[in-house]
Amino acid sequence: MDFTTVIGLEVHAQLLTKSKIFCSCSTTFGASPNSHTCPVCLGMPGVLPVLNKTVVEFAMKMALATNCNINKFSSFARKNYFYPDLPKAYQISQYSEPLAEHGYMDIELDGKMKRIGITRIHIEEDAGKLLHDDHNPFSYVDLNRTGVPLIEIVSEPDMHSAEEAAAYLRALHEILVYLEICDGTMEEGSFRCDANVSIMPVGSQEFGTRAELKNMNSFRNVQRAIEYEVKRQSYLIENGGRVIQETRLWDANAGVSNSMRGKEEAHDYRYFPDPDLLPVIVNDDWIARMRESLPELPAAKRARFIADYEIPAYDAGVLTADKRLSFYYEEVVRLSGKPKQASNWVMGEVLRLLNEDKKDISACAVSPAGLAMLLELIEKGTISGKMAKDVIVEMYVAGAMPDEIIATKGLSQISDESAIIATITDIIAKNPEQLEQFRAGKDKLFGFFVGQAMKATGGKANPALLNDLLKKMLAAN
């Protein structure tokens, strides 16, 4: 039987506000346990939450960037359940009246555009963390994360393959990072994804029973977990079984998911409006201000790069995947006026060096001015492209400008015609046999003479000039 896969994603993104959502504690990751806590986030008796306005603004930015309608009136509810990482025993979240709804994102997959609906974006608080120690019969509670602001972005069940889901997730991630409202670190849990997956016979209008997948901490694992789930459900149905509604945990090491809880064990969260918080009232002015504050988003930037710099779509994609990289590239273009070469060098040498060091562009010692100068020196013929590849390594290591490196290392290219002629004359004299064979028609030997000349000049001979002169001199004699 052929099946259609139906996937909806719920993404939780931690917001990069300085303080927590309902108190003034720091949100910094990695502090010693429980050092970023106060009576409010510890849920002590009698304390009250006060909403951090920046949280609303960050959420509004994401809502606008994903084409959502921002509700003028939204409210907070309490989601009640007991767990030691939740000191109030309820999570403050938005439930029946979320901040934003009815948005969409366009994603590109195999050159085709596809629109994924966004059901809603709402604001909520994160819970703490339990630390388990196998040697002790108890667990530790760290409440630093309690009250860190989150937005939950719920998609429509519009994705039909693991690849589509991954593409959507990447696009969402890219926007969050572009907006500088989330650092997007999946390993540290600042960008988390749950997937609702079901299958139905091709042509069917009725969705199958869905399973909710959790605990996927990388893009790759999201894709793997969904692929596994689709196979699992297909196998079940083809063998006369049926899919049950449940929550499943992905085990990345084993490459399988396991049932965590079924529908019967699902919590009754007893949502009700939180009486301690006022509704969030948003007016047109505020929305307009947020809209104006939005940076150029990745899709728009890609289109502009392709149009203005005439670089291939692939290159534009790589250069805009990281906002800082796109700034870097544009700065090189501005200083050098060479968009194509800039793209080649940024995508080639710069990214290769950074990848080898597992660093990102913010840690790059090659300044845009340095790279622009390097492109200029290549064009002027001061150095060859090949030499430039060595120079950029030096620039990367030492953080120096290319002219300094060329000067100190004596790397400057030999473009002096008489010097090259002297070298060639010398080589021809030393290799009469090869000369004879070449003249007899063994064209391949041209490379031999190039190699000899380069060897003699320490690789500094201007390759184009050398080529020209060699051709003339080998023929002339």
Partner: protein, 485 residues
């Protein structure tokens, strides 16, 4: 002179003229507590040492000419108000040993105004009750008759003021918990408008209904206290940013031409005849002051109790979920796993009335029942609010009995929750509507038990309540008696 009999107004003068030192007042109050509190049991924690230390600081400040609105005034706090460094329990086993690292905003304000915190008073566990019998520290007794309850849930605070064990006390009112004990103990009890006084540091029972207010011996003292307590607090999102009037300025103004609304739904049977005749007396006095009584209707009155017993337990079930034995307060010693720890701690930590309300609240919020109960109740609540808005278009203030009858016997209603709930029948609508209410003494039963009259006004119209009750008080048509202890 018996200093503990003084009102705040009287003491302020003596402090200002250096006639009495704060230390002298505190010593006198501590002596009074030592003499009578074994009988009344208004206090669960008397802060003798810190109160004396605070009094010395106040005296030093007074010597330098620094005199504040409540300089040297000994005030008792219901044990629902968090006090920095001082155990705060809500009179529940589950919070025994909890020492807050912060003061409630009202406590900060009182200290800032020069008041001296003399002790923490008894209350119904988590403010759930109308008799102060559900406290894990045992019941408080009514100073007018030690075999009777003082009302609740702020029974300790009411009794402490009535027995002159402090000059004023702080209570909290979710469905009548200030006004009902004030009536039964013959003192003035004011519940301000929701949002008028910060709830920060008030241990939540039902967050959309809870409000802090003062117990005092006179209306004038109530005005003084409210001026100190009221005001916006950035730490409480539901506190309202409106200027605080000088409430004392409204005292002594006449009420000529005022229309006193008499809601017909509140005067139909169930009211004790002595209470009824005391209320008739209040109406006559007000008329003599130049006001007129007008018949009004609050048509949704009959639903108040039902709405209240859905909304309040629902919020409470969530507010009290944090008492789980993990972070503070009580935890059972033996348990098999996490769920067992929760179960045993909460089973042993909470009393039966609290458990009853947690179960009620959990039920009405459950999936499948939410719409039928909580949602419906919220809608009716809007209608109740509307009733009052309509009423205040035709009258300045509303007059009702505070309670259907005077104080009942200890143990009389403990096994009949419905009877207990009915003792708040006249007070809960105020909280549902969020409007202010005040109870003032208006007479005694033949056996000498106090009777209270309740006045209600529109949102943020506490000044009207104080003006009308001061006028009534000053008319002096009944002689106030002290309890015989």
């Amino acid at each position: 002179m018996e200093l503990h009999f003084l009102t705040i107004g009287e003491l302020r003068e003596k402090i200002a003229t250096r006639e009495i030192a704060a230390t002298t007042v505190v010593r006198s109050i501590l002596k009074r507590i030592a003499e009578v509190d074994t009988q009344v049991h208004a206090y669960i924690n008397v802060l003798s040492e810190s109160a004396m230390a605070e009094a010395e600081l106040i005296d030093a400040a007074i010597a330098k000419g620094i005199i504040k609105p409540l300089s040297g005034v000994p005030i008792a706090l219901k044990d629902i108000c968090c006090t920095k460094g001082i155990e705060t329990t809500c009179c529940s086993r589950i919070l025994r040993g909890f020492i807050p690292p912060y003061d409630a905003t009202v406590v900060e304000k009182l200290r800032e105004a020069g008041a001296i915190i003399i002790g923490k008073t008894n209350m119904d566990e988590f403010a759930m009750g109308s008799s102060t019998e559900t406290s894990c520290f045992g019941a408080t007794r009514n100073p007018y008759d030690l075999t009777r309850i003082p009302g609740g849930s702020s029974g300790g605070s009411a009794a402490a003021v009535a027995a002159d064990e402090c000059l004023a006390a702080i209570g909290s009112d979710t469905g009548g918990s200030i006004r009902q004990p004030a009536a039964l103990c013959g003192v003035v009890g004011l519940k301000p408008t929701y949002g008028r006084v910060s709830r920060f540091g008030l241990i939540a029972f039902a967050s959309s209904l809870d409000q802090i207010g003062p117990f005092t011996k006179t209306v004038a003292d109530s005005a003084l206290m409210l001026s100190v307590l009221a005001g916006y607090d950035a730490k409480d999102s539901t506190s309202v940013n409106l200027p605080v009037p000088d409430y004392s300025a409204f005292l002594g103004r006449d009420i000529r031409g005022w229309r006193i609304g008499i809601p017909r739904e509140y005067f139909i049977g169930g009211i004790d005849t002595e209470t009824q005749s005391a209320l008739d007396g209040v109406m006559r006095t007000l008329q003599a002051c130049g006001a007129s009584c007008v018949d009004i209707s609050l048509p949704h009155t009959e639903y108040c109790l039902a709405v209240y017993y859905i909304v309040a337990p629902a919020e409470a079930s969530s507010n009290l979920a944090r008492y789980d034995g993990i972070k503070y307060g009580m935890r059972v010693e033996k348990f098999s796993d996490l769920k067992d720890l929760y179960k045993k701690t909460r089973s042993q930590g909470f009393g039966s009335e609290v458990k009853r309300r947690i179960m009620l609240g959990t039920y009405v919020l459950s999936s499948g029942y939410y719409d039928a109960y909580y949602k419906k109740a919220s809608r009716v609540r809007t209608l109740i609010k509307q009733d009052f808005a309509d009423a205040f278009r035709v009258c300045d203030v509303i007059l009702t009995p505070t309670t259907p009858s005077a104080a009942f016997k200890i143990g009389e209603k403990t096994n009949d929750p419905m009877q207990m709930y009915l003792s708040d029948i006249f007070t809960i609508s105020t909280n549902l509507a969020g409007i202010p209410g005040i109870s003032v003494p208006c007479g005694y039963t033949a056996s000498g038990l106090p009777i209270g009259a309740q006045f209600l006004a529109g949102h943020f119209e506490e000044a009207k309540l104080l003006q009308v009750t001061a006028a009534y008080e000053q008319a002096g048509t009944f002689i106030k008696r002290r309890p015989k202890i």
